[in-house]
Amino acid sequence: MDFLTIIQVLDSTVRLATPLLLACLAGLYSERAGIFDIGLEGKMLAAAFFSAAVAYATGSVWLGLLAGIASSLVLSIIHGLASITFRGNQLISGVAINFLAAGITVLVAQDWFQQGGRTPSLPREARFNPIDLPLSETVADVPILGPIYSELISGHSILVYIAVLAVPLTWWVLYRTRFGLRLRAVGENPAAVDTAGVSVIGLRYAAVMICGVLCGIAGAYLATALQAGFVKDMTAGRGFIALAALIFAKWRPWYALWSTLLFGFLQAIALRYQNIELGNFVIPVQFMDVLPYILTVVILAGFVGRAIPPRAGGEPYVKER
């Protein structure tokens, strides 16, 4: 395997890890505040469709992004109402959102575009296109560092950079601000927050909304940057992989970056090497495709160390009695 191939695989890793990272951070905000969210998948899917549809209709990818975020936020509000205001079961609400999104995207897509539940392909100007960072042309010929900069670091869409910047930002918000302290506290012991005179409901809604925004960006990225348009079920379980990555990351922002990169790497390998030959034995492409999912199952089964979730996670807050 030559150097350029490695760079290309890593480049592909970054692109594939981006939606996972955004969704993982989305889940991180929500779960750190004590609201489990298995509806990441559904929110991304809804955002993917509406961003593609609006970008196609208006020709503006930025309007598409806003539409994606808005649709994801609507689902977030539903999840918030069900699990915070009405103290319902957070898992059931999440499952419902996934079903809702899976059905409604295809239905509306068919009604609007008559292309079998997909949007038409987005023209170039209605997509997020790669950005060439300054000097990437000039340094491309420098050995080693040149390709790393021009191929790996430069040449991604703006959303990739936003996702990566969201990591230190999330860390800073969580550990260096008042909001972060309260957010972490409300996921651990909401009664402590309540008796300290801070609104548990307000904090949890804030977290769920942030989760909605990030899922919206993740979905828009899928349909307007990674691919050119929406197709049925295009999230392909990424919301669940992001949840697994979140557990793997022990609910911490930097770990989230590394764990989603690992998942992205596995997907990139599967994409690049269809059949891997090891002597006489051929590893079939299906096996490579299934690797990220196997890793997900392994992580969820708890084989990777002890991850302690936020203590009040999944439980609606009810004052005693």
């Binding site: 601000t177 008042r178 909001f179 302290l181 506290a185 402590a192 309540d194 008796t195 005179g197 004052k319």
Partner: protein
């Protein structure tokens, strides 16, 4: 004349059909310690939660320092200078002391300046009130006594001048409780107003200036502490005369019934909770195990009762019992002559949704006498249950009522009726009177003593030192999984036992509280070491 610090007028609060507070009026003068005493479920905590904005009253008015005040949430309570130390601490376990202190009282959007300010302020408060604590320690590594300090510091940091403490001594060793009271004294001298909620008569007599008695949601009396007596207060609480001491003759111990050697228990988190203990209990005596909650007593009971596994040896009437695997279950233990009144009656002693008669045979339901052919002899069991409930004075005496509809004391009587009536050789009793009203305490204690007088062996675990001292014929103190020593109740006192409860076996040459502090600090270091290692 100064206005009362707190004045409540006609406060009422109902939870569904349960009237927790009925038309309560109370007035507390500044610079005093006001006790509120009452049995469990009398409505003390509800009333104070209303004052702290945790619950909303259905009716009534609140005046703070003479001004009518609305307290819709805790923020409003904090704003008028009220601080509360809840019975179950409201701390974030994996946060540091400092983070817990500033939570909700941060200076600005960024944490750093708030933390720095709190650190300075904490050092100042620590000096002023002898509330020493490591600001960077994680709450989960602190002893409960120190966690309580954090709660008090939280209130002081918010400049509270009205401090409410809900059952603050339940989790403390006697020396720690004494220190807490010294701090409260000090706060009172500075003009702060303190409300102390407790069910312990002694604490009320020791420290309060005035005391209000609550019974079944109503305020039955408010009196000056100096003008009342424990007996009078107990009568006001229960509504009839109660005997505060247990009547019993000296024990006449017979042969050894229970013999424990080198018992170790590791809990499901991998932490060793019982670290090799030896104990014997003989027929006709009560061995009391004293200790602060969480020092291995619960695990000891669980292993003996057959619902946790351990290593070492346990013999009952000379027969070795398996400590793990087959035969180490509740059923086998019952066959070996052990009856068990578990610590947590609602989770381990009863099935709350089942009726009283079902609960009364539960665990013994396979016994031949309860069978009728292939089926259970329900009519027979119900008749039997009725008899047992009558004998144990369970009120209301309806076998068909679900366990959850009985009061704490009557639930406990149902468990006792089940266990004692099977005539065991050894009775394990955990926290027999936790959450039980005074009237029922008297009865339950008498039943335990009667069983002893019938020549049965009894192992009693309780965190209430008074209960241990009045019931037990021998007292063993447990600390950090070890038995620190055994004493005869009439040759020891609360100070000595309190030191043992803190893991100190010799009378220290420095102030007691300092010795206890050092001991707990040592433990905290160990726990931190385990986490890092």
């Amino acid at each position: 004349m100064t206005a009362p610090a707190i004045e409540l007028k006609g406060i009422s609060k109902a939870f569904g059909p349960v009237q927790a507070n009925k038309d309560i009026s109370i007035s507390v003068m500044p610079g005093t310690i006001h006790g509120i005493i009452g049995e469990n479920g009398a409505g003390k905590s509800t009333l104070m939660s209303i004052l702290y904005g945790f619950y909303k009253a259905d009716k009534g008015e609140i005046f703070i320092k003479g001004t009518k005040t609305q307290i819709p949430d805790s923020q409003a309570a904090i704003a008028v200078g009220i601080g509360m130390v809840f019975q179950h601490f409201k701390l974030v376990e994996n946060f540091s002391v400092l983070e817990n202190i500033i939570l909700g009282a941060e200076e600005g959007v960024l944490l750093r300046p708030s933390l720095a300010k709190a650190r300075k302020e904490l050092a100042h408060l620590a000096k002023e009130y002898e509330l020493n604590i490591d600001p960077d320690a994680l709450i989960e590594n602190l002893s409960v006594g120190h966690q309580q300090r954090v709660e008090i510091l939280k209130a002081l940091y918010r400049r509270a001048d009205i401090l409410i403490l809900d059952e603050p001594t339940g989790v403390l060793t006697p020396a720690e409780a004494d220190q807490l009271f010294r701090i409260l004294d000090r706060l009172r001298d500075e003009g702060k107003t303190i409300i102390l909620i407790t069910h312990k008569l002694r604490e009320i007599m020791d420290i309060t200036d005035t005391v209000s008695v609550m019974r079944r949601g109503e305020m039955t009396a408010t009196v000056k502490t100096s003008e009342t007596s424990p007996e009078a207060l107990a009568e006001l609480m229960v509504g009839r005369k109660v005997l505060l001491r247990v009547d019993k003759v000296p024990a006449t111990p017979g042969k050894t019934v229970l013999e424990i050697k080198g018992l170790r228990v590791i809990d499901d988190k991998g932490v060793e909770r019982v670290k090799g203990i030896d104990l014997t209990v003989r027929a006709g005596e009560i061995l009391g195990i004293a200790g602060v909650a969480g020092n291995g007593q619960s695990e000891l009971l669980e292993v003996l009762g057959g619902f946790a596994e351990g290593t070492g040896s346990i013999r009952v009437n000379g027969v070795a019992l398996p400590l793990s695997g087959k035969g180490a279950d509740g059923q086998a233990r019952r066959h070996a002559g052990i009856a068990h009144v578990p610590e947590d009656r609602q989770r381990e002693g009863l099935i709350m949704d089942y009726t009283a008669w079902e609960n009364i045979v539960f665990g013994y339901h396979l016994d031949p006498e309860y069978q009728s052919g292939l089926l259970m002899d329900n009519t027979g069991i119900q008749t039997l249950a009725q008899e047992k409930m009558d004998r144990f004075d369970v009120r209301p005496p309806h076998p068909k009522l679900a366990a959850k509809n009985f009061s704490g004391g009557n639930q406990q009587k149902i468990v006792l009726a089940r266990e004692i009536e099977r005539n065991p050789d050894l009775l394990l009793v955990g926290q027999p009177t936790r959450g039980v009203d005074i009237g029922a305490i008297e009865f339950i204690h008498q039943q335990i003593v009667n069983l002893r007088d019938q020549g049965k062996a009894i192992l009693l675990v309780s965190v209430e030192l008074e209960e241990i001292l009045s019931l037990a014929d021998r007292v063993a103190v447990m600390f950090d999984g070890h038995i620190m020593g055994e004493r005869a109740p009439d040759q020891t006192d609360e100070t000595e036992l309190g030191l043992l409860m803190a893991g100190i076996t010799e009378m220290p040459d420095k102030p007691i509280i300092q010795a206890i502090d050092e001991q707990f600090d040592h433990q905290q270091k160990e726990r931190e070491g385990e986490q890092n290692g």
